[in-house]
Structures are given as structure tokens and as C-alpha cells.
Amino acid sequence: MTNTVSTSATRRPDRAALVIAVVLALVAAVIVYSTATAHGGSTTRIGPGAFPYAISGCLFVLSVWTGIEAWRGDFPEREAQEFGPVIWIVGGLAAQMLLLNTVGFSIATGILFAATARGFGKRPLWMTIPIGIVLSFVVWIIFAKGLQLSLPAGPLEHLI
């Protein structure tokens, strides 16, 4: 929002920011809907609905405000992004999430480790995955055996 960049060329409606405005309005609508259809619980003078309605009201106002700023192109300029790394890392997290309870902590987290390293440009996977699994296995021993944290065990962890 510096004054120097507010030339006519940059003051174009910001589509991505308009999407944010819509999302905020949707969140507000979901809160209203969910609160209006909720039932159960005991009754009190100021019920469990008051605060959600107030918050969704404010979110709605913020949505309109965001829409106006987006329309005027008031959001800060964004640098170009590479989405390849993001996909690798999100994929790694998703893989860990889905595999965790079947293959155990070490293997699932090792895959996350390798995928993240790949996102930062480190390959090949046949090298980084074993490194990740060994590291995660060490972490598992420290935290599950040493600090009694309940981390899911898989075939590797059952070896000891």
C-alpha cells in the first residue's frame, strides 16, 4: 500500500483477492447455517448462538471490505511462485497422512522427508527416501521409547 506504486497500471482488480472475499463470505454463511440448524444443549440467556452470529457478521463485513480493496487493486504485489515444490511438499504430507497407520511412523515420515527435500531440489529419491526412513526411525526410538510418546508402529518398528 505504498503510494508510489499506485499507478493506473497496477490498480487493476485483483482476481485472487476477490476469491478470498468470496471464501470469507462462504465461511460466514457456513457458520450462520450451522448455528441456525444446531440443536441440543441446555438453554441459557445468551445462548451458544450469539457469538457465532457476531463472528459471522464481522466476517461478512470483512468479506465486503476485502472485495472493495481487491477491486481497487490495493493488495500488495505478489512475487511469481513456482508451484512444483508446493505440490511435492503437499504430496509428501498427504502420503504421510494416508500411510501412517499402515506402514508405521518411520516409513511414512521418511517419504515426507524425501518429498520435502525433492521440493527443495534435492534428488534422487532412491537416496533420500532411505535417509528419511533411517532418520525417522531414530526419531521414533527417541520419542516412542525414550519419551513414551505414542507414535504408530509399523513393520520396521516391530523389529525392535
Binding site: 441446555s42 440467556r45 470483512l62 500488495p76 497422512m97 497407520n101 520435502t116 527435500a117 510418546l149
Partner: protein, 505 residues
Amino acid sequence: MDTFTLLAHGFLVALEPMNLFYALVGVTLGTAVGVLPGIGPALTVALLLPVTYKLDPAGSLIMFAGIYYGGMYGGSTTSILLNTPGESASIVTALEGNKMARAGRGGPALATAAIGSFVAGLIATLGLALIAPTIVKFALSFGPAEYFALMILAFMTVSAAFGDSTLRGLTALFLGLALGLVGIDLQTGQARLAFGIPDLLDGVEVTTLAVALFAIGETLSVAAARYGGDEKIEPVKGSVWMNREDWSRSWKPWLRGTIIGFPIGAMPAGGAEIGTFLSYSVEKQLAKKPEEFGHGAIEGVAGPEAANNASAAGTLVPLLTLGLPTTATAAIMLAGFQQFGLQPGPLLFATNPQIVWGLIASLLVANFMLLVLNLPMIGLWVRLLSIPRHWLYAGILVFATLGTIGANPSTFELGMLLAFGVMGYILRRFGYPIAPVVVGLILGPMAEQQLRRALAISQGDVTVLVGSPIAIILLVLAVCAVVVPLILRARGKGKVLSQLAANED
């Protein structure tokens, strides 16, 4: 003095061998993690929370104290040796500190930061011990209406007062408040926004949200930005000790920084950065050699570092005495208390004095340990700094998910972690601050409870909210916190405010 008796009792707790060990582990882990580039104090505390899960409350909080101070210290090492843009926690230290390191004076820069942190930590922690009982006495007279007003003030200062946009600050806050609605309503037992999913009935975990927003969001935005290239670690050449001139130029900035930082941290306003910026400009004006500023003036490291640590200790004042977290770090520490069923606030001083005073005493112990440990171990911290990016962030994500898995090894919880991580990336991309989301999540339900309690006592009469002078003053201040920055920005003075943004911490 009563306070000193209590503090002495606190030392009896803190100096037990096992607790000393916990403090030592805390400062070491805290520094080691805090040194890693891209990890600020908030994330340090969130990442290390699982280490404390299985300890008893006192031991866990003592380790926490160490982690907190260690994390603060580690951050300054990073910014001196590695000019990390985007890490706002000790961004001012980087201004002069990195210049000093480039000029081959990295050793004295680290030393003045370490000793300044010690001096500030010592004075500010004693200040905390002295001021806390008074505030507790005052806070005991607070009713729900005053608490509600206080929380509104904290909401507004955390979200709207600083940063580059009132709109985006408030939006971040309300996202946090909306997430805080999820789960069973405490007063009526009604499920809200759970959509029939049992995992959501307990609400959104503060640590899950904080780790996702800070660790995963940060990792994604660094990976996507790929701005690598000019990150150069400055080697520490020569002696780490300060010469006579360094000492004589440092001690006054340490004290001034402490005096500036502590009150700012102690006010329910949040943000260690404000103090560091003020201290920097004060030192610049008072310096005998102002021409050195921008080229590595030692005053510009000593003052802001002291201010940074003093205000870190200051944020513990509202946290411990009022139960009011004003930074993301404090919000996570509050979550750390809550895992043991402890609610910080005036009552905790009455019900668990040994824990509160033990914690304050261990802050002093941790502070002393940091001074002894850190300068000799600088070589090790430097080696940590040189971990290649790809291994570093891969490791960060391993530990980020470890905390969530350790607390609740369910696919659903990891799914939330991933979803919030993506949200954190989007928030960063569009210039939204992160801290208000975390503070909103933890403080929202507390504010709601106070509001409903106030209205229940008054039998629905809303004027009770402005029924006392204290409540009115707090609410007026809250309005000012929103309106004044809006006017300043409209008049083109927004740049100063955006520099004061309290993002990371």
C-alpha cells in the same frame, strides 16, 4: 518483602537437580532449534511442546521457560550470522549485527547480543517478579465485564494496530475466532461447527494450528519463492570477546533497551518488535558515532537485543497474571499450561504458587545458563546454521508432524495440519499476519465465556459491559487501536506501522 520470600521458594523448586536438568535441556534445545533459519520463537516453542508431554507440570513448565529464552537467543545468532529477511523476530538485530559480522566483528556482535540478552532478561524477569503480585491484586477485582474488555483490547492491538493493513489483520483475527468456535460449547454442551465429525468435538488444537501455520506455511512459501542465492553465513573471525570500547558502548544501550522493551511487552499489546525498533532509533539518535549506523554499530545490536529479550519477559506479565496471551508464542505457552489443566491468571498465583514462582525462578536460572553456555558453543550453532536448505526444511516437517502425531495419531488430525498449512501459505502469499489467527483461536472461547458470564450476572443487561471505569477505558483504548492506525495509514504514515508488524513472534 513478601515477593522475595515467594521468589526464594520458587528457587527451591527451580534448583532441584531434576528441574535444573530440565532447564538445561530446555535452553539447549531452544537455542538449537531457534538458531535454525526460518524458525522463530513461536515455532520453536510449538515444535518442542511434544518433548514436554510426559513430564510433570512443574518440570514441563521449567523446560518451557528454558525453551522460550533459548529460542529468543538462538534467533539473534541467526540474524547476526545470516542476514535472514522475513524473520521479523530479530530483524533489527540483523540490520547492524550482520554488517558487523561482514566486517569481521561477528564475535563481539554475538557477545554483545548474548550479554545484553542476559542483562535484559535478568532485569526484566526481576521486574516480572516485582510487578506480578500488584497486577494480580488488581486483577482479582476484575469482573467478567472487565476481562471481556481486556480481551477485546488484546484482540485489537494484536490484529489491527500494527502490520501493514487493518483489513488483513482483522481478517486473520476473525479466522482464528471462527476456528475457536469449533467444538462443544462449554456452557451448554451444544456441539458447534463440528458437522457431525467426532474429531472436531474437542475443537481445534492450538499447537496443530500454530505448527501448521508457522512450520508448514513457512516451508511452502520458502519452497515456492526460491529466492536462494545471497544467503551467506558470515564466519566468526577472531575473538568473540568484546574489547574495552565495545563494553563502554554497550552497557548503556543494554539498560535503555531493557527499559524500553519491558513495559511494551508487559502491556496487553504484544509484539517484541515494537520495542526493538524504538530502541534502535533511540540508540541511533544518542550514538556518539551516528555515522556508523548502517555499517555495523555495536549500539544497534546491543539495544534492540536487550529490548527484544526484555519484552519477551514482559509478555509473561499479562500471560501469567491475567491469562492473556498477546503474542503467538504466549498463545502456545498458554496451550502448554492448559495441557496440565492449569489456567494462568490471578487465581493460579493463589492455587499453585510453587508452579508460578518456580517458573519465574527458572527463567532466571535459564537466563544464567544461556550466558554460560552460549558463547563457548557458538561454533556448534554456526555449524547448525550451515545445514543445507533441503535437509533443514525436510527435518522441520518431520518434527512438525511428529508433534501432531504424538498428541493424536489420527489421519484426521494430520489432514487438519495439512489444510492449515496450505492456509498458512495462502495467508503469507497475500500478506496476512499469522499471529492474530493463533491468538484468536485460543482467546476467542475465553472472551466468549467472559461475555456470557457477564451477561448472565446482569441478567441480560448489555450496559454491564460498560458498567465500570476500567471497562470503559479498556474499550476506548481498543477502539483507538483500530481507528488511529487507520487514520495514520490514510495519511501516508503506514510504513512505520508495517515495520512494527508483529508477525513471527
